[in-house]
């Protein structure tokens, strides 16, 4: 059985169910309690679970992530919320130098099973509040990095992240919290933290994206279908470990690849995927891999300028035409 709920409610369900299931699970972050969470994911939780388990913190990202790591070592299951991924940079030392390394560096004696929830997103928020850094974390061995696009994944991944023994960077997106989708009713519905998913089958070109980018790719695919171009759309879902097999298999079928990402393209996920695809499927490629990303500028505030910077459906469509060597849309009707 399944119900259709929002991405936000999927996260809320995951947190509540895991908190009822395991008393060691607690939440910690800025404005998650009395305020109810910047994106209302934890609204009402303080009243339901009390201040020991829904812990408002000072604005001190490094401190709270470090405390999360320590609490995890000490036997708890902390879910730390960093208000936006922009602020996670203040905690990056704790994430990279400690969370990611303890298990290896100390020879498997213990790990830091902390879940760090944070949100990417933009919307006239200016240069320092509109970024996304998933590839910075995906670079680091020892971390698991997930960036779900649909409510089902949001719930299944978050529950698995909380129950697992590794540190997980769990990246949401402010512009998809209201998206709806089917989620299984089962309270033990878990998804392993690995594997991309082919969400739309196609034969002409492979579109790879994740999080909100998946919806851009899907929108472009639907538009292109009207002119007879069939895109295969892959939701990457997990950025570390990266499931390249699914991408390579698809490219072997379509011979063309477009990666859609929200941030700057330089040294980012698209670059990594393009490199891996040329290593593993060089002979299958009929066109250079295309990457759609942001313009390489700090995000401007003005609405018209911001629209120029972030990728949109039209730019994805244009990239698909480019890898198909088609300059103009071809009318099929």
């Amino acid at each position: 059985m399944a119900r259709e709920i929002t991405y936000r409610d999927a996260l809320r369900e995951a947190l509540r169910e895991e908190m009822y299931r395991d008393e060691r699970v607690f939440l910690m972050g800025e404005d998650i309690g009395h305020y109810g969470g910047s994106y209302a994911v934890t609204r009402g939780f303080l009243q339901e679970f009390g201040p020991e388990r829904v812990r408002d913190t000072p604005i001190a990202e490094l401190g709270i992530v470090g405390a999360g790591i320590g609490a995890a070592i000490g036997g708890l299951r902390p879910v730390v919320e960093i208000m936006t991924i922009n602020f996670s940079l203040l905690a990056i030392d704790q994430i990279v130098n400690h969370a990611a390394k303890l298990h290896y560096m100390f020879n498997g004696q213990f790990s830091a099973p902390v879940v760090i929830r944070t949100a990417a997103g933009f919307g006239q928020l200016g240069a320092t509040h509109s970024q996304t850094f998933e590839h910075w974390y995906a670079h680091v061995p020892g971390l698991r990095v997930v960036m779900p696009a649909v409510p089902k994944d949001a719930k299944g991944f978050l529950k698995s992240a909380i129950r697992g023994n590794d540190p997980v960077i769990f990246i949401e997106h402010s512009l998809i919290y209201r998206n709806r989708g089917e989620v299984p009713d089962d309270e033990d519905f878990l998804l392993p933290l690995e594997g991309a998913e082919v969400r739309r089958e196609g034969t002409d070109v492979t579109l790879v994206s994740w999080s909100r980018g998946y919806y851009l790719a899907l929108g472009a695919a639907e538009e292109l279908a009207r002119e007879g171009i069939e895109c295969e759309v892959i939701d990457l879902r997990v950025l570390r470990p990266l499931d390249l097999d699914t991408v390579v298999r698809s490219v072997q079928k379509t011979n063309r690849l477009v990666v859609v990402e929200e941030g700057w393209r330089t040294l980012a996920m698209g670059a990594e995927i393009a490199a891996a695809v040329q290593e593993q499927a060089f002979d299958y490629l009929d066109a250079p891999v295309a990457r759609v990303g942001s313009l390489e500028v700090p995000m401007p505030y003005a609405r018209n300028l911001e629209r120029l910077v972030v990728p949109n459906k039209d730019r994805v469509v244009e990239a698909v035409r480019q890898v198909l060597y088609r300059r103009q849309s071809v009318s099929v009707s």
Partner: protein, 337 residues
Amino acid sequence: MTSTVGGRSPGLALPKSELLEMYRQMVLIRRFEEAAAEQYALGKIAGFLHLYIGEEAVAVGAIHAMDEGDHLVTHYRDHGYALALGLDAGPCMAELFGKSTGLVGGRGGSMHFAAASKNFWGGYAIVSGHLPIAVGLGLASRYLGERRVAVAIFGDGATNAGPFHEAMNLAALWKLPVLFLCENNLYGMGTAVEYASAVREMAKKACAYEMPAERVDGQDVLAVYEATKAALDHCRSNKGPYFLEALTYRFRGHSMADPEMYRTKEEVEEYRRQRDPIVLFRNRLIQEGITVMAELDDIDRDVDDIVAAAVRFADESPEPDPQTVTDHVYAGSARAS
């Protein structure tokens, strides 16, 4: 400042066996570190090697005061803590040699000792970065209704960094059982305290968080023991965190690569002559009639044997199995990529 030198110390009322054990541990740390320096010169140990010589009384006094269940996280000059916790010298030396029998299998090296069996959650090498981890350990202890105190040991240099202040604030705000133990050895690597810190007394920094604080003579093992005991009692009785500043001195360079241009030879000699924690404790034990020189000499000889055996063990141990190089990247089952 608390010092027991010249006054009757309650610590002297400890059973003789405990006092001699504290002496033995201090000598063990000293000899272990000297042997490590030798092995470094021979090329058996590589990378960074930070010696604890001169500061032995802090590790031994503080750890002797801890309960078995208490948590410990430390900075990277960490060999002394492992030995004071009672871990065998062999695996400690083997870790420096990068051998499979090392404390952490040769994966950590000098700066990253750890022993989960002793709740020693590691030596950390990003200055002040482990202090928020101590806060989390304190939080876990209280959350789970345990009586453990989380002890964090760090240097004076750490107190100028942001993580220190975030950790101090959190621990005080939430009244967590955390003991902040600052080893003030007067230098953050090669920069003297007066060039790095707006205040010279690290304990004053605790005032900003309304955290009780005290300075203690870090060359006096009994003073450290007593001050730590009292501080731990404070933390254990739900009164929140405590800050202890141990005044100490590093007799050797920051690491093996340090030419020591930032301090005078006379200063170092003065400390070695006047403030050697082992000599001070040795004289004290004899003066107080607790033991005689011959008994202490016997301990010294036993320690020499232990350290020689540790070096042999390290030298003869196999290197880590190359097949294991990708083990332990993840704790969970999904593949490492």
